[in-house]
Amino acid sequence: MRTRGHGPRNKSGVTAVAVLGLILATPLYADSGLPPAALANTQLRDPVLESKAQALMETLRCVVCQGQSIADSDADLAGDMRAMVRQRIAAGESPASIRRWMIERYGEYVSYDPPLSAVTAPLWIAPILLLAIGGWLARGSFKRRRRS
């Protein structure tokens, strides 16, 4: 009886510790309690400008949650970046110039639209190279079949 009673009590003790741990565990980059910036989640009135801003936001990387674009991310800093993008688009700045501004600060890392450069060249050239190799291999095997 005693041991049987012990089991569950022990388990609930472990659960309590686990729950307490979860409550006390705070993420390294906690979010602030402040409301999002004015244009973080509000579209621009002009649909043309908004679509421009949207297209840019989808190709800028969130620097907090690094697998997402700032358009997808709920992080505070992503919201502030969206607000900045919309503000500057509304003020007449071109998306290319805003992207350049971001790259100047965070590096090419921040852009999901990598330009052709020495570093990114393999990305662009590798598919072409692989296709060429594939073609060459295919040609070889077709020739062999014709002979037999």
């Binding site: 705070t26 390294l28 980059y29 906690a30 979010d31 602030s32 309690g33 402040l34 910036a37 620097v63 907090v64 690094q66 505070d76 800093l77 502030d80 970046m81 607000a83 900045m84 971001m102 790259i103 100047e104 600060r105 965070y106 590096g107 890392y109 921040v110």
Partner: protein, 175 residues
């Protein structure tokens, strides 16, 4: 010729294996280093966030003496861990200014009374605008600015005891 070709797939596999093994042994650096290091501090002017301390203007960093620019927030947990080290630097005579990210006056006041107050000035950056212009991606981060307004060092994450020598060296222009 044919015989050599036979080994080609295996060589390709070995190469791929090597690349993956190397990647496993040296995990990628997930920190985003500011590209502003080595460049001039962008111009900004931030209002005060608490009544007892002035706001922050970038012109302050061009007055000849190197200073620390700490990017922090009252809601940031590692900032609490960093506070004693900043107090130490302050005791050594290092001037420290701060930018408070997405914060309020009362929250900052509470943070300073709990963790100590190493700051001469604190600028209020409610929408992270100046933080972005610095190429900073989180809190806490600390920038060492030389007396001419050039950024010479970015410390990502809290300053720990072992980081102090590097910060001091940067302040003395040794880096």
């Amino acid at each position: 010729m044919k015989r050599g070709l036979l080994w080609l797939p295996f060589m390709a596999f070995a190469l791929l294996f090597g690349v993956v093994a190397y990647g496993l042994r040296s995990p990628a650096d997930r920190q985003i280093h500011s590209k502003m290091v080595g460049k001039d501090l962008p111009a900004f002017s931030l209002p005060a966030i608490i009544k007892t301390k002035p706001g922050l203007d970038s012109a302050l960093f061009k007055q000849g003496k190197p200073r620390l620019l700490n990017v922090f927030a009252s809601w940031c947990i590692p900032c609490i861990a960093e506070a004693p080290q900043l107090m130490r630097l302050k005791a050594m005579g290092v001037p420290i200014d701060a930018i408070a990210i997405r914060d309020t006056g009362p929250a900052i006041q509470g943070f300073l009374s709990r963790n100590g107050d190493p700051y001469e000035r604190i600028g209020d950056d409610k929408i992270s605008q100046v933080q972005m212009s610095l190429g900073s991606s989180g809190v806490p981060e600390t920038f060492v600015i030389d007396g001419q307004g050039k950024i010479v060092l970015q410390q990502i994450g809290e300053i720990r005891e072992e980081d102090i020598p590097a910060v001091l060296a940067a302040l003395q222009g040794k880096k």
